[in-house]
């Protein structure tokens, strides 16, 4: 199997969409699904944990900064297997992120905030913040591991 093809034996590429309230009690639901998805797509336990953490940090940032911890906002998360990558699209209609604060924290800083965007950048291969109309979009990608069959 070539790495740009589906991980599944069916040849059908994976796609899942979630529509979540901006309530942190649902974060654990996404994490559980994400860890299992990453395992199914061939990442090892440590990689699956890191990817799950990065997605969780993205959702947490939306709850904290776009919706200011209000639980009545809507977050959409789309995970889609594309050419050689798993793409994560996180969108919301809350306040726009302050782009100057993304990864602004010095890595060795002892400040208590600003770590989430560093985790996202360190774990994911790409992370692109966009504002379209009233919507925020964060598109993250992670290269799929070459399948066992392709090695």
């Amino acid at each position: 199997m070539h790495s740009s093809e589906s991980r599944s034996r069916s040849g059908v590429r994976f796609k899942a969409e979630w529509r979540l309230p901006s309530d942190p009690i649902f974060l654990s639901v996404v994490r559980a699904a994400m860890e299992r998805l990453c395992a199914a797509l061939g990442w090892n336990e440590s990689e699956a944990r890191s990817i799950t953490l990065a997605v969780d940090e993205a959702l947490t940032n939306v709850i904290r900064h776009a919706y200011h911890k209000r639980a009545d906002g809507v977050i959409e998360l789309v995970c889609e297997e594309k050419e050689g990558v798993l793409e994560f699209l996180v969108s919301d209609t809350g306040d726009a992120p302050d782009l100057s604060k993304i990864c602004a924290r010095a890595k060795e800083s002892q400040a208590a905030g600003g770590m989430g965007t560093h985790i996202i950048r360190d774990v994911m291969d790409t992370a692109d913040y966009q504002r379209t109309g009233m919507a925020n979009r964060l598109v993250m990608t992670k290269r799929l591991r070459p399948s066992v069959e392709g090695k």
Partner: protein, 111 residues
């Protein structure tokens, strides 16, 4: 998330279990700030933590800073590989006293 504490002389040993994320880190912060009071040393057992995010790390940094203000010693122990990975990704492991066992953390040897 569940928290519990017990005192051994003038050392308080706190155990944290479950998931520490945005839904629980505020409660953890409140619990640990209270736990700093009236003891010489506070040590936290992280061995029961199933999941930790950056809001949990931020909470531990805040408690560390508060412990420095109140001149209370503060240490962590029993960090699982999963929890250690979050500390590594957030680049803050060096600012904490970290031990493998409760006995080491209580005694403060070999920090």
């Amino acid at each position: 998330m569940k928290t519990s504490s017990r005192d051994q002389g003038n050392v308080r040993i706190v155990a944290v279990e479950g998931d520490v994320d945005l839904s629980s880190s505020g409660d953890l912060r409140k619990f640990l700030f209270e736990a700093l009071r009236g003891v010489r040393r506070l040590v936290i057992n992280l061995g029961g933590i199933h999941y930790l995010d950056s809001s949990g790390i931020a909470t531990l940094i805040e408690v560390l800073k508060e412990s420095q203000k109140t001149k209370t010693e503060f240490a962590l122990f029993a960090m699982s590989p999963a929890v250690h990975e979050v500390f590594r990704l957030t680049h803050v492991i060096k600012i904490f006293q970290v031990y493998e066992t409760e006995e080491q953390a209580v005694g403060g040897a070999g920090a």
